[in-house]
C-alpha cells in the first residue's frame, strides 16, 4: 500500500503536442493518500482511463512524474510497480481452474507452494468462490470472473494499489450492488489504496471516500460525495452529479444581490474577490422551493419518479428543474424560491466563495 503522488503529469497521444488541445490529460498535480478509496469520475473521453493507465504503468506520461511513497516510479514497468488492476471486461485464464488463476501471480513471483496455498485459500474464501476452486474458470458467470480478476490482485499482500477500470460494466444490475458493497468491505478490512474509474455517479459516490471529478483532461474537483453535492467547484460537477443536475442560470451580481431577468435573488453573502468571465448562479433542484411565493414560473412538465416528482418549469424563459416530495402539491399559480443554503455563484464556470 502506498501514497501516490502525481506531479505535474501531462499526457498526449500525439508525438509532438503543442496546443493545450493536443493533450488528453492537461496538468494533473495531485496526491492520493495511502489507503484511500478514490473514484475517478467523468464522461467518456475526459482522460480518466489515461490517468489510470499512467498510474499502472501501461502508459508513460509525456510530462511529469509519478511517486509511490515518495519514490519516483515513472520509469518502472507495470510489474515492478507492484499494482493490481481489474479491467472493464473480466480477464481470466480460461484453461486454468479458479484456484490456479489466483495462484498465478504468486507462482510467477516464485513464492513457495505452501505460501501460495495459504494465500489462495484465504482470498478464495473472501471472494466467495471456495466451492468452485477446482472448476475451470471458463464456465463461470461474468461477476464470478470479475471476482477472480479482483482476487488475483488481492492475493498479493504487498500491492501498492488496486486499480479498477469500470469493472462493473458487464455485470448484471443486481450483482453490481453486491459487488460494490463487497469492495467497500474489502477496503475497510485491508486498507488498500484503491482507484476506481467510472462514468456512473452512483458507483463513484457509493464506492469512494473521495471522488475525483474529471472534465476535458483536467481534475475539476476532488471531494467527498457531500462536498460534490453541496459545493460543486465547477458548473460541470453541478451538472454531472445529481439527478437531475444543478440548475445554472446566467446572472449579474451586485453586492449580495443577484439579478436574473427581472428577478432579484438575495445571496447568502457577497462574492469575494473580482469575477471575470460570465457569471452564473447554480442551485440544485433539491434547494428550489415550489409554492405560492417567490418568482413566478410556468410549469411545462411533471415527472413522477416514485418517491418524488421532478417539475420542469420555465423561469424568465430559462428551463429549471424542481424536486417536490411525493405528496408535494403543485399550486395553480406556481412560484419558486431559492433556498440560500443551496446557492453557489460561478464566474467563468468556477465557483466563487461567498463572504458571510
Amino acid at each position: 500500500m502506498a501514497r501516490i503522488d502525481l506531479e505535474h503529469i501531462r499526457h498526449s497521444y500525439l508525438p509532438n503536442p503543442r496546443a493545450d488541445a493536443d493533450y488528453a490529460l492537461k496538468e494533473v498535480h495531485q496526491s492520493l493518500e495511502d489507503g484511500g478509496a478514490y473514484a475517478l469520475l467523468g464522461p467518456s473521453g475526459c482522460g480518466k482511463t489515461t490517468l489510470l493507465n499512467i498510474i499502472s504503468g501501461l502508459l508513460r506520461p509525456s510530462e511529469g512524474c509519478l511517486l509511490f511513497d515518495g519514490e519516483d516510479v515513472s520509469d518502472r514497468s507495470t510489474q515492478e510497480r507492484n499494482i493490481a488492476q481489474v479491467f472493464q471486461f473480466p480477464v481470466i485464464y480460461d484453461t486454468m481452474t479458479v484456484y490456479d488463476n489466483l495462484a498465478f501471480p504468486l507462482r510467477n513471483r516464485g513464492l513457495p507452494e505452501g505460501e501460495v496455498d495459504r494465500k489462495v485459500r484465504e482470498i478464495i474464501g473472501i471472494i466467495g468462490l471456495a466451492d468452485r476452486a477446482k472448476r475451470k474458470a471458463r464456465g463461470l458467470t461474468a461477476d464470478q470472473k470479475q471476482k477472480i480478476s479482483l482476487g488475483r490482485g488481492l492475493v498479493r499482500s504487498d500491492v501498492n494499489a488496486i486499480l479498477f477500470d469500470e469493472p462493473l460494466t458487464v455485470i448484471d444490475p443486481h450483482m453490481k450492488w453486491v459487488l460494490r458493497s463487497q469492495l467497500k468491505q474489502l477496503h475497510k478490512r485491508f486498507g488498500y489504496t484503491m482507484v476506481y474509474v467510472t462514468h456512473d455517479q452512483t458507483e463513484a459516490l457509493t464506492f469512494a471516500d473521495r471522488v475525483v471529478v474529471m472534465y476535458d483532461g483536467e481534475i475539476v474537483q476532488i471531494g467527498t460525495p457531500d462536498e460534490l453535492f453541496e459545493r460543486p467547484k465547477h458548473t460541470f460537477v453541478g451538472y454531472f452529479i445529481g439527478s437531475p443536475g444543478m440548475n445554472v442560470v446566467p446572472v449579474s451580481v451586485q453586492g449580495r444581490t443577484a439579478h436574473f431577468g427581472g428577478q432579484a435573488i438575495t445571496l447568502p453573502g457577497a462574492p469575494e474577490g473580482s469575477m471575470t468571465g460570465p457569471v452564473e448562479l447554480g442551485i440544485r433542484p433539491e434547494y428550489v422551493r415550489l409554492g405560492r411565493e417567490g418568482m413566478p414560473v410556468t410549469i411545462s412538465k411533471v415527472e413522477d419518479i416514485g418517491r418524488r416528482k421532478i417539475v420542469r418549469a420555465s423561469l424568465e424563459g430559462k428551463e429549471i428543474a424542481v424536486i417536490v416530495g411525493e405528496d408535494g402539491e403543485i399550486p395553480a399559480e406556481p412560484h419558486v424560491a431559492f433556498d440560500p443554503a443551496g446557492i453557489n455563484i460561478y464566474a467563468d464556470s468556477r465557483r466563487v466563495e461567498l463572504g458571510g
Partner: protein, 288 residues
C-alpha cells in the same frame, strides 16, 4: 401463431440437388459400380462381390502407400504447425508491416499446385536448379531423382513452403482477436513470455489450430499434384503416396476394379477422419 406448412418449398432445393447429383453422387456411384464388378472391355461386366476390396486390403502395395502417406502427413504437421505458430507470434500487430506480411504470407497459397511442383522441380535440379546446383557446388551430395531421402526432403520442404502460410494466417487471426487487457493483466501478474503464450495465446488459438490441423491433414493425406510433378512418385516407389498410387493403378495399369475399391476405401477413411475432427471441434469447449 400458426405456422404455415407448404411442402412445395422442397422444389426450391431441386436445382442444387440435381447439380450435386451430377457433380458428386453419379460419379461416385460409377466408382461403386466398378468396385464390385469385373470387366474385360466391350462393356461386359461380371459380378465380383467384395473380391476387389479383399485384394486391396491384402496387398502390401496399398499398406506401403498408406504408411508413406501417414508418415508424410505426420512430418509436415510436425513442422508446419509449430513453425506457423512461431511466425504468427512474430508478425507485427500494427503499422505498415501488417499488410506487407499478410501479402507475403498469402503469395504461396495463390500459386496453382502444379506450378508449385514445377518451381521446385526446376529449383532442385542439379544441372540448372539454384538449390540443386548450389548444394552441389557446396559439396553436398544432393539428388532428388536418385536418392529417396533427398526426394523426401524436397517434397517435405516444398509442402512446408507452400502451406505453412495457411497455418500462419489462421493463427494470426486467432492472435489479433485477443483483447489488449489480457496482455496488460499478464504484465501485472508478472507472467513470463512463456506463460503468456501457454495461458493466453495458445488457449485463444485452440480453435483455429484445430482447423489448421484438420485442413493440413486432409490436404496432405490427399496430396497428388506437387510430388507427382517433382518426383513422379520415385525414385522407385519411395514417394508414391496414396493418390499417386491410385492413379498408377487406375490409369497406368488400367486395373479399374481394384482402383475403384481402393478409391472407396480411401474415401471412407477420409470421411471417417473428417467426422472425428468435426466431432472433436464442435464438442471442444462445450464441457463446463
Amino acid at each position: 401463431m400458426q405456422k404455415t406448412w407448404n411442402n412445395k418449398a422442397w422444389f426450391l432445393v431441386l436445382p442444387v440437388l440435381l447439380l450435386v447429383a451430377f457433380s458428386a453422387i453419379i460419379p461416385l456411384m460409377t466408382v461403386v459400380n466398378y468396385s464390385v464388378q469385373d470387366t474385360f472391355g466391350r462393356n461386359e461386366f461380371f459380378w465380383a462381390g467384395t473380391a476387389w476390396f479383399e485384394e486391396v486390403l491384402a496387398s502390401d502395395r496399398f499398406w506401403d502407400s498408406m504408411g508413406r502417406n501417414l508418415a508424410f502427413s505426420a512430418i509436415i504437421l510436425a513442422i508446419e504447425i509449430p513453425l506457423g505458430i512461431f511466425i504468427a507470434l512474430n508478425m507485427p500487430r500494427s503499422g505498415w508491416g501488417v499488410p506487407v506480411c499478410l501479402v507475403l504470407m498469402a503469395l504461396p497459397l495463390l500459386i496453382p499446385w502444379n506450378v508449385v511442383g514445377t518451381i521446385w522441380q526446376v529449383f532442385g535440379r542439379i544441372d540448372i536448379g539454384l538449390l540443386g546446383r548450389g548444394l552441389w557446388e557446396l559439396g553436398i551430395d544432393y539428388n532428388y531423382v536418385n536418392d529417396p531421402f533427398d526426394a523426401w526432403v524436397t517434397v517435405i520442404i516444398m509442402d512446408v513452403w507452400h502451406w505453412t502460410s495457411l497455418v500462419v494466417l489462421l493463427c494470426y487471426a486467432g492472435l489479433v482477436s485477443i483483447p489488449d487487457a489480457y496482455y496488460q493483466a499478464a504484465k501485472i501478474d508478472g507472467a513470463s513470455r512463456w506463460a503468456v503464450f501457454r495461458y493466453i495465446q495458445l488457449p485463444k488459438m485452440n480453435r483455429v489450430l484445430l482447423i489448421a490441423v484438420l485442413l493440413r491433414f486432409m490436404d496432405s493425406f490427399m496430396i497428388y499434384t506437387e510430388p507427382f510433378v517433382v518426383t513422379g512418385g520415385g525414385p522407385g516407389n519411395t514417394t508414391t503416396f496414396l493418390s499417386i498410387d491410385l492413379v498408377k493403378l487406375a490409369i497406368g495399369e488400367f486395373n479399374l476394379g481394384e482402383a475403384a475399391a481402393m478409391s472407396i476405401i480411401y474415401f471412407l477413411i477420409i470421411l471417417a477422419l473428417s467426422w472425428v475432427f468435426y466431432t472433436v471441434m464442435t464438442n471442444y469447449g462445450a464441457e463446463r
